[in-house]
């Protein structure tokens, strides 16, 4: 079974901006007054790029992700996805949350097919695709199981399939492996890297884990504490595919230390 049909159509194009974030800021209005969540930021993410955002809790990472999905409106500035300004949910993204968020009354395959149903896409055609995706993440034979019959790691893989099934250009992941044990997490990282290389999606992933960020990313964005802003951007020079051995590579170690310094400095301030 080939997975070439899972690739996005535009792999040969030159890297062009897919997500453009221009002077975007977010302030939450609460009963106790305004709570600034994000300071104005500018980010451009290119086609097929894997960008990972690291930052402490409450620095507005999730806010940023929800704004890109069109679930939240920015207070200032503008977000463009593929050239279109985002004002409402636009369906051009797949989302993976920290917990798998599978619908417990739907079997695995029906969960993966949910975006297809919502959008009214041709069922038969996308069913094949859903089955291919499940096979790609090693869940062949689990199509008819209910979510509770799967382990946490398997559930999260199903939710990744669901984020990919309608072939979105962009996948947004909000600490997708945060709830998994360390060993499963490492395995999922290797697997996600493989999925990205096979599907050529543009991925924006949020994490607390610096090694995870460096392992996965083409570029790591480091965010400051609340209200969040981009503190630094680090391109990751490690070549792909990266195996788990990369974790002991001197380049990897140097980069993680450099990033970690941002947070240890912030604490001693």
């Amino acid at each position: 079974m080939s997975v070439t049909n899972l690739r996005a159509a535009s792999t040969s194009e030159a890297a062009r901006p897919v997500i453009e974030i221009r002077k975007v800021a977010k302030t939450y209005k609460t009963a106790d007054g305004d709570v600034p969540s994000l300071r104005p930021l500018d980010i451009t993410i290119h086609d097929g790029e894997f960008v990972v955002v690291v930052g402490q809790s409450g620095c507005g990472k999730t806010t940023l992700l929800k704004m890109i999905a069109g679930l939240l409106a920015p207070s200032e500035g503008e977000i463009r996805v593929e050239g279109h300004t985002i004002t409402k949910p636009h369906g051009g993204v797949g989302i993976v949350f920290q917990s798998a968020m599978l619908l417990p009354w739907r079997r695995v395959l029906d969960n993966v097919m949910m975006p297809v149903e919502v959008k009214g896409l041709p069922q038969a055609e996308y069913r094949e695709r859903a089955l291919d995706l499940l096979k790609m993440v090693g869940l062949e034979g689990f199509e008819k199981k209910y979510p509770w019959q799967l382990s946490g790691g398997m559930q999260q893989r199903v939710s990744i399939c669901r984020a990919l099934v309608h072939d979105p250009k962009i996948v947004l992941m909000d600490e997708p492996f945060g709830a998994l044990d360390a060993m499963t997490r490492e395995r999922m990282n290797v697997e996600l890297q493989r999925i990205q290389s096979e599907t050529k999606k543009t991925i924006l992933l949020i994490t607390h884990s610096i090694p995870e960020a460096v392992f996965l990313a083409d570029r790591v964005l480091v965010m400051t504490a609340r209200p969040g802003a981009i503190d630094a951007v680090y391109p990751v020079p490690l070549k792909r595919p990266r195996s788990i051995d990369v974790l002991s590579d001197p380049v990897f170690i140097a980069l993680t230390q450099k990033i970690r310094k941002h947070f240890s400095d912030a604490q001693t301030d």
Binding site: A69, L71, G91, I95, F97, M114, V118, K145, W148
Partner: protein
């Protein structure tokens, strides 16, 4: 071999409550003997069983009106309660107007207003149905509101990010999510609907088990009264069991219905 059969019988789910019931009846009988309770206070179990057997045609005839009122009251409670819960959960405005009044109305003892129904609607079936409805309505609303409101915001965000419209979000996420809570409410509701129907019969009716209860206590026919109570309890149990059965078929995925093993570690 026979030991195996006996063991398997003991494991059967339906047998356990019956065994317990037999134990209770034995305790009942022993208490009467030991504490010398006179039969005009508590009848002997065997008298109740004999009455059940002898009076069965009469009791059965009086069961139908009560059962009828119970089922109609319950169906109305479900038919109104679930949509009202949907409205309350779906709109902050409706919630703020309706919900406090609904809770307020529940604090009124329905037994006290049941005679009003007779004044308004006479001695027929309708006041009994209304009484059963009044008792069965509130638990359905409360549980269903709870169910609709407890959908995780991330789950809703996920559907919104797929560009789901309000109807799709309701049909695919909110309603299935609320179903277990709705069934919990329906189960409470059906047992209360039995009470409601009997209350309706107490205050004004010419037929039904409620009438049997009143008549027999008036005539000190305690075995007949206890026989009617046994039948009322059976009605409650059987209706409850039917809803439980429907629930099993409706939400096989829910934690309360899982008897499968987790197949993957």
């Amino acid at each position: 071999m026979s030991k195996g059969v006996a063991h398997r019988l003991l494991q059967a789910a339906w047998l356990k409550p019956i065994l317990f019931l037999v134990m209770l009846v034995v305790v009942w009988d022993l208490s009467i003997r030991v504490f010398k309770i006179p039969p005009y206070q508590v009848p002997k179990p065997q008298d109740v069983i004999i009455t059940l057997y002898q009076e069965w045609p009469m009791l059965l005839k009086e069961t139908w009106p009560t059962l009828n009122a119970t089922v109609w009251g319950f169906l109305l409670a479900a038919a109104f309660g679930i949509p009202i819960a949907m409205l309350i959960a779906g709109s902050k405005t409706i919630e703020s107007y309706v919900y406090p009044l609904l809770v307020f109305s529940q604090s009124i003892p329905k037994i006290a207003i049941a005679p009003l129904f007779v004044v308004w609607f006479g001695f027929g079936l309708f006041p009994k149905v209304l009484s059963a409805f009044m008792l069965g309505f509130f638990p359905v609303v409360v549980s269903a509101v709870q169910g609709f409101k407890s959908v995780e915001p991330d789950m809703m965000d996920l559907a919104r990010a797929m560009e789901a419209n309000r109807w799709q979000m309701f049909r695919m996420v909110a309603l299935p999510h609320a179903t277990p809570a709705i069934f919990a409410g329906l189960k409470v509701s059906i047992t209360l609907a039995v009470v409601g129907a009997v209350v309706g019969e107490f205050v004004g009716s010419s037929e039904g088990l409620g009438v049997v209860l009143q008549r027999s206590i008036g005539n000190f026919e305690l075995p007949t009264m206890f026989a009617a109570l046994v039948i009322l309890a059976l009605i409650g149990v059987i209706l409850f069991w039917i809803i439980d059965l429907i629930e099993r078929f409706t939400i096989p995925w829910h934690a309360s219905q899982r008897n499968d093993l987790v197949i993957a570690a």
